[in-house]
Symmetry: C2
Subunit: 126 residues, 2 copies
């Protein structure tokens, strides 16, 4: 699979895919002429990388974590504690986001007193 195909398959830019490889998140064989040749599980790998990026995990951390994600045999105590640490960080982020979302909801309902009411029964705004 060439890089353009992988890009099309995942929706991730060619530039980013090269970056992922550079960071050691993604491995690719090379053809004799030097072009990248990705294996069939590359798209799933890219999807996973994107999810982890979305969770705010940086590439350096991913480099540490990824080996033990696909291969439980790669577990070490340090790696396990690293996983727990990240899980914790995500938990805290979720808690913060949930609180912020609740705050926004409060503001939204203040700003829109008709929320959830039937049309035609709007409150007067003034």
């Amino acid at each position: 699979m060439r890089i353009g195909e992988l890009s099309a398959a995942t929706g991730v830019s060619v530039r980013s895919l090269r970056y992922y490889e550079e960071q050691g998140l993604l491995s690719a064989d090379r053809t004799s002429s030097g072009q990248r040749a990705f294996g069939p599980d590359a798209p799933a790998r890219v999807d996973l990388i994107q999810d982890l990026f979305g969770a705010g995990i940086c590439s350096a951390t991913m480099v540490d974590l990824l080996p033990c994600m696909s291969d439980p045999g790669a577990r070490t105590p340090k790696l396990r504690s690293r996983l727990l640490e990240e899980r914790d960080r995500i938990s805290k982020t979720i808690a913060n986001l949930t609180a912020t979302q609740a705050a926004l909801d409060r503001i939204i309902s203040e700003n829109n007193p008709n929320e959830g009411r039937l049309p035609g029964l709007e409150l007067r705004a003034d």
Copy 2:
């Protein structure tokens, strides 16, 4: 309240406070000599700003949103839809994070088969 006090009160660096003011997130009077003088609600405002930053809302968006957060009278249809949009974005982020957290949990339990077991009853690792 001078900038150093506000920094101490909130745990946010002086540099960041100046940045918040520059971005229009935070207002400060000036003394005749040009030093910033923050009002008594500045700490709460800074806390709010920090929460929103934590939720991944950038300063430009905050500039739009903040006026209608403290003042429901500032509501406009555009502002309301902006609020809803951000609330939605946060919802999606929470969903993604929750999924990622679940994935990490799965990996953690694979990596740690003794999770939740009583000490002394560990499974053999090999």
